[in-house]
Amino acid sequence: MNTKAKAKTGSQIKVITGNAAAAIGAKLARPDVVAAYPITPQTEIIEQISKFHANGEMDCELITVEGENSAMNAVMAASLAGGRVFTASSSWGLVFMYDAILATAGARAPVVMVNVNRETPGIIAVSCGQQDMISTRDAGWIFLIAETCQEVLDIVVQAYRLAEDYDIQVPVMVHYDGFYLSYLSEVVDVPLQEDVDKFLSVLKDQPERTKLVPGGRLGCGTHGILGGYLELRHKHMSAMERSKAKFEEIDKEFEAIFGRSHGGQIEKYRMDDADVVLVGSGSMCGTIKAVIDEKRDSGVKVGLLKIRMYRPFPSEVMVEVLKGKKAIGVVDRSLCFGFKGGPMYTELKAFETQLGGSKMISFIDGIANTDITQANVEQMIDTTCDLAAGKDVREVTWVSYPEANEPDSEKPDSEKRGGL
């Protein structure tokens, strides 16, 4: 963020949690329909919204559904009927609504939801991790990731401009780290309602999107088959591509009204003269920035590329910024089963030839609430510097689980014991 939290005339400075910031962001967007179902660490959002509703501060239809699957189904339908909608979930909740998440994207319903990142299926883990995001990344939604509580609020508001834009009409999921951001209180500049109204009013000047109305002789959810299916898929993919430039535009317009910018698809931190770069996302970036400042003081030319838009993958701007860097370390808070490196690392690898010889390594850290500490970040920077210097380093490092980095770590237990 290039401006410190500084209140515009009339806006309020508050110390609130990431969840409260998300709830206030949703309230400021004035949704018509909100579906609410609890799950840790998201619950506080829907509690806050229920309180706003109970106090008459929020004039929406509040649907206290009996499960997450219904939450997504309800807001998808309300969105296709013409409404502005909101819901929030986490982890297993997100997975329980998975079929509806796919259907929402397929129907191009401009739903906005928050996903508070938590480890997800397989092992029950009430702890932070972006695995839930990875489990749903191929659904056809736009994914945005926030680093701070301020960014949570701002991205939720911005997400409506992106999802409901006439040329986009793709659902948007706003992600932020559970436990770290969800319950962490930070200083947040809460914008004025009239400013948010003004910011969102651009949508009213656009052509009206197609809506399912009674007697309207219109159907949605037809069988798409052969060419018809291909046409819809191609249009969807094209809209995803368009959303990259649109998000940059929205960020600039946001800055003009609210006086702060977070960057568009990516944020660059001390990148201009950097030789060595860490690529990260979410709450870890605050720690990374602090360590970069220290390293810079001792002459290490290191910078951070923060991924803010994860779907579509911001490959063009990333290649532009990373091209020619000596070494890149990608930090993933999730796993990519079937690949050794993390998901973001694996994806960035696809652009290796365009990066003009930059070397890349993968760091896996922050899984299941293992803190990404300053020491961990320092280790990542040092290892990436070693890579830049031509030293032999591991392609993948599990920073908080050194056992994974032992030479025989991939051997079966039976072999390590000396046979079955």
Binding site: S70, A77, A100, G221
Partner: protein, 319 residues
Amino acid sequence: MTEKKQGKLTKVLDYLKHEDPFSKGVAFCPGCGLELLLRFIPQVLGNDIVITGTPSCSAPVLLGQNNQSWHTLSYFGTLMTGAAANATGLARYYRKAGIKNTVVCFNGDGTAADIGFGNLSGAAERNEPFIYICYDNEGYMNTGIQKSGTTPYGASTTTTPLGSASKGKNLRRMNLALKMAMHKIPYAATATLSDMGDLAKKLLKAKEAKERGFAFLHVFAPCTTGWGYAPENTIEVCRRAVKTNYFPLWEAVNGKIRMTKTVKKPKPVSTYTKLIKKFAHLNEADLQILQDDIDYEYCMLGGLSALEGECQLPVSSED
């Protein structure tokens, strides 16, 4: 046909105040009970309903293909898992936006009684303002005749096939309509295609009731292909289902249950099952198990309909 019967027929047609929005020829099996029901609903309720449908026997006709459709209704093709939640979203947004609406959530028994029961129950608990119609053909007919929660005892399906160790479904059916009535909703009713006047009245009552909240209709809709009976016998199968109390007709207004048709001398269930191939293998002892189940359900219904009093309903759904 006697004059009296012709008089009754005219009375049913009187309920058809609106056009049939469906194409003359559609992709249903000859003798399909569902087709009769599906054409009937908008002719009674109006063509301005918003109908939701899921993958099922209704899907090939209710849902279009690419940009083509078999009908002119406003419809929402969706998933079996969340149909009632979709209808909730539609009805709630229309209410918020002040748009007059009749949302009809139209589903088979697979959605209503099995995979989508959770959200059906949730919508009823929240007293959502729409009409839910379950057309019950007692199984997954569209995917090739598999057992569902409403498949009756003894029925042969492709997942309860006959074999040296199997006599068909070795479980009792669930009573979906009674389960829904237990949600204390403004309106719950059963209906079938041999009593179209009764069905029409119940549709209109459901439309009126949804102004106060959730309305549920359970319509017995036999399947000629999946059950194995002659296509011309669909109505006769319905008639015998009523006359044997296999499928009694009743309604619950504000939770107060009453029979809308009382069968004075119910026929044994064998007069019904003998028309249908899926029961053909059942011997007398098997049929007695089915008969006992029907008698038990009817006894329960009788007990409930003898109760005095209505439940006090909220003015509308939450909010």
